[in-house]
């Protein structure tokens, strides 16, 4: 029977999150290696597939987060949304600003990576920062994300 408690939702989230992120990291390195293997001129269809596979984990993690928000308890849902919104807002704002700076040729175009590749990781970075700041403002410890201070009796 499905465990519909907070613990069950946490377990189901973590069970898929870490393998998906491991897959993402592996493909971040696999793509450039494939390019090198083809002498810098791989077939276009192959690189399209590699690019889609490299970005797919981001979509999977968002699906996972959606399922987690539906399954977890109401307080956790609230604090996650409180962190997700600023994370998305900061990332999208910076991406748009950077896009205009590129358009006006104020900033150079990078050769090794493109800012568009960094949108996903940036979102998770700002989400993590916002979540941590909000935890500290609530007087919670950052040492254990699942525990709020000591277990009072």
């Amino acid at each position: 029977m499905k465990d519909i408690t907070f613990r069950g939702a946490n377990r189901r989230y973590r069970r898929l999150f870490f393998p998906v992120m491991a897959f993402y990291v592996v493909f971040c390195f696999a793509g450039p290696l494939i390019m090198v293997a083809y002498g810098g001129e791989p077939p276009v269809w192959l690189m399209v597939i590699v690019a889609i596979i490299s970005g797919a984990p981001i979509a999977v993690v968002f699906w996972l987060m959606g399922r987690y928000l539906r399954e977890t308890d109401e307080f956790t849902r609230k604090i996650q949304i409180d962190a997700l919104l600023p994370g998305a807002g900061i990332t999208l704002s910076l991406a748009v600003i950077w896009g205009f700076l590129e358009l006006y040729q104020v900033v150079p175009r990078f050769k090794i990576f493109t800012p568009m590749m960094m949108v996903g990781p940036s979102f998770f970075f700002f989400y993590g920062i916002t979540f941590s700041i909000q935890r500290l403002l609530r007087g919670e410890s950052l040492r254990d994300a699942s525990v709020m201070g000591r277990d009072e009796r």
Binding site: T5, R7, E140, S146
Partner: protein, 72 residues
């Protein structure tokens, strides 16, 4: 909203984690409820009240209890 959750939990000798497990929520939820930083939904308020064999208004105080007293 004020509540008597900490007193009721202590009366049973439960930790925050014990109460969280009984309600199927996180320990953070219990702490936030006890410190008044978070107000529960009606379904969760019912679950809490029933766990302690109380009425919702015996656990939570919305500050309008005087209205009930005045009516009596």
């Amino acid at each position: 909203m004020k509540n008597r959750l900490r007193d009721l939990r202590s009366g049973k000798g439960w930790s925050q984690g014990d109460l969280a497990d009984a309600l199927g929520v996180s320990r953070q939820s219990i702490n936030a409820l006890e410190t008044g930083k978070f107000d529960p939904s009606l379904p969760l308020a019912f679950r809490i009240a029933r766990l302690f064999n109380k009425r919702i208004e015996d656990v939570f105080d919305d500050g309008l209890g005087y209205m009930k007293k005045a009516a009596e």
